[in-house]
Amino acid sequence: AKGDFLFGNARISGIIDQHTGLLKGIQFADGRRLPFKQNFYYYDADGKYRPEKNSGAYIFNPTDRGAQRISPKAEIEILRGPVVEEVHQVFSPWCSQVIRIYKHSDYIEFHWLVGPIPIQADLNNPNLQGGTMNQANYQPISDNGREVVSLYETDMKTNGTFFTDSNGRETIRRLRDHRSDYRLFTSEHTASNYYPITSWIFIRDYDRNLQLSILPDRPQGGSSIHDGQVELMLHRRLLQDDGLGVEEPLNEPGIDRRGLIIRGKHYLLIGPIDSVIRSTRQLSKQLHLHPVQWFQAPPVAMNLGLPAVPSSNNGLILSSAGTSSNLAANGGAGSSGGDSLSNSALSGGSS
């Protein structure tokens, strides 16, 4: 198809760039469009230069290189249906995502899956060769580990301000590189702006009356390192202990001795400040008190006492045109339906 892809519902739609497969904008019900990007980045954990301050259990100390993109593009598959429209994105063998917009919702769901985060040792691990573990599609990694974040970018003017919650109740206003109770001098520009996010993080553009809220499905670290951006940390795999107590790196081996694979969801709400505040609070309650589901398997023969589903042929019967005579004979196609065809039309020639 020419041009970008649009997916969503009558209230909110996502615009997918046809060249990169990444989200590039959001369209509102009134047709207005907002530039919007989402991609996955990673921080290389420091440790080479200041071994006493490794990123580890109690420290987030990325190198000064800043966040690096995992992949500049994604392979995508777009699926549309009566309940949900979704885009499946694959960024790398260890990073993929499904972006969903349900028919009657006003949020966008990002269902991400990260892991096993590759480390140098994997490439030499005999039982991991082949499949997604082969050398070709692995970017060699520093042997200190990696910390993966999901970054949402807009052109909102936020003046270094963002808001995070505290235990799903009150909201705290954060200013970049600033502390309200003392003068902040820091050499760690990234880490000193990271805060705990329990239920929501949001940014606002007061001139345009816009608010962007991100709700994680579990507590994560998050920040707004640049204006108009929000990032949340999804997963870490660290190979050096930070010497502050665990005496063990956070290199959690999953199955097959590979790193852990983590899957989770982010919910994005964007729009006028008043309505997004209300939706944010409502959705955060729904996520916190998440419905519980379980199953029962009744025996096949058991009658559950429900009436049969109306069969699909009351009023609509399809038959090959060549046998119009017997259609007329058994009452014709429309006899029991609303759009009944007159028998004369049938007997006169079904074409």
Binding site: D4, F5, S275, L289, P291, G305, L306, V309, S312, G338
Partner: protein
């Protein structure tokens, strides 16, 4: 004594190591073990409390002379199965659903207001129908979407753990919207109607019911139900003469037909 292990475990897991995962590997594994054991015991108390809700409802119905429905009878007597790997798109009982077999799925809403919750369960390839378990058993709009390959790899690891085989046929997820009243549960019946899934069995009766279903007013739901776009697969529609087609709201920009 069914909830106590969970209360004790969550008390232990308030420790900052457990909340942030900054603990030794074997301590982390022990936390997971304790939590899984405690959750299993707590499930039983959820089932018994649901039985009390049903009993109470049926007493009311009994006073009005209505007998207990076969479904409620089965809910009280049948075995309840919880799937703890649904976030890895893995659930043995739904993956094994075979033709003409039915599956009851109960969804309990702990919030004090009506909630619209999208249920996603892994299924084998095939055609499924979802119905409400109350009243005339209205058909609920449902859809199948493929499970991403990265998750299938995950699922295959899980299924290898569960029953030693990787089930190649489990490749879809069945999604439908459950409208959950506050502080109680809703039950839906999933039935496999055919082996091959040539598109979603989507009756327009269901689609219009889905849109006209009494959406809760405090959720900003509602809006127009757009007739599903033809995604290239063949959507099955029963005739719907008496159902007013809702004009679709044009969404500007190029529309994909597949």
């Amino acid at each position: 004594n069914e909830l106590e292990p969970l209360q004790e475990t969550l008390g232990i897991l308030q420790h900052h190591d457990a909340v942030t995962g900054t603990c030794k590997q074997f301590v982390n594994d022990d936390y997971s073990r304790m939590l899984a054991h405690a959750m299993k015991k707590a499930h039983h108390s959820l089932v018994t409390s649901v039985a009390k809700i049903i009993e109470h409802n049926n007493e009311q119905r009994g006073q009005q002379g209505q007998p207990m429905s076969p479904i409620d009878t089965f809910i009280m007597k049948g075995e309840h199965i919880f799937c703890s790997s649904l976030n890895a798109s893995h659930c043995q009982i739904s993956e094994k659903l075979d033709r003409f077999e039915k599956l009851l799925i109960h969804v309990y809403n702990p919030a004090s207001h009506t909630v619209q919750h999208y249920v996603q369960i892994p299924v084998r390839d095939g055609r499924y129908m979802v119905r409400e378990s109350t009243g005339p058993g209205l058909v609920v709009a449902s859809q199948q979407t493929p499970i991403p390959p990265a998750v299938l790899r995950l699922t295959s690891i899980e299924s290898r753990q569960d029953y030693g085989v990787i089930d190649p046929e489990v490749s879809k997820e069945l999604i439908f919207a459950a409208i959950l009243p506050p502080l109680t549960m809703a039950t839906y019946i999933i039935e496999k109607t055919a082996l091959s899934s040539s598109g979603n069995l989507m009756t327009s009766a269901a689609s219009s019911l889905y849109s006209s279903q009494s959406m809760p007013n405090n959720n900003n739901l509602g809006g127009q139900f757009l007739p599903p776009r033809q995604p290239g697969g063949n959507q099955f529609h029963t005739n719907a003469n008496n159902i007013q087609r809702r004009e679709s709201i044009p969404v500007s920009g190029p529309q994909l037909t597949t």
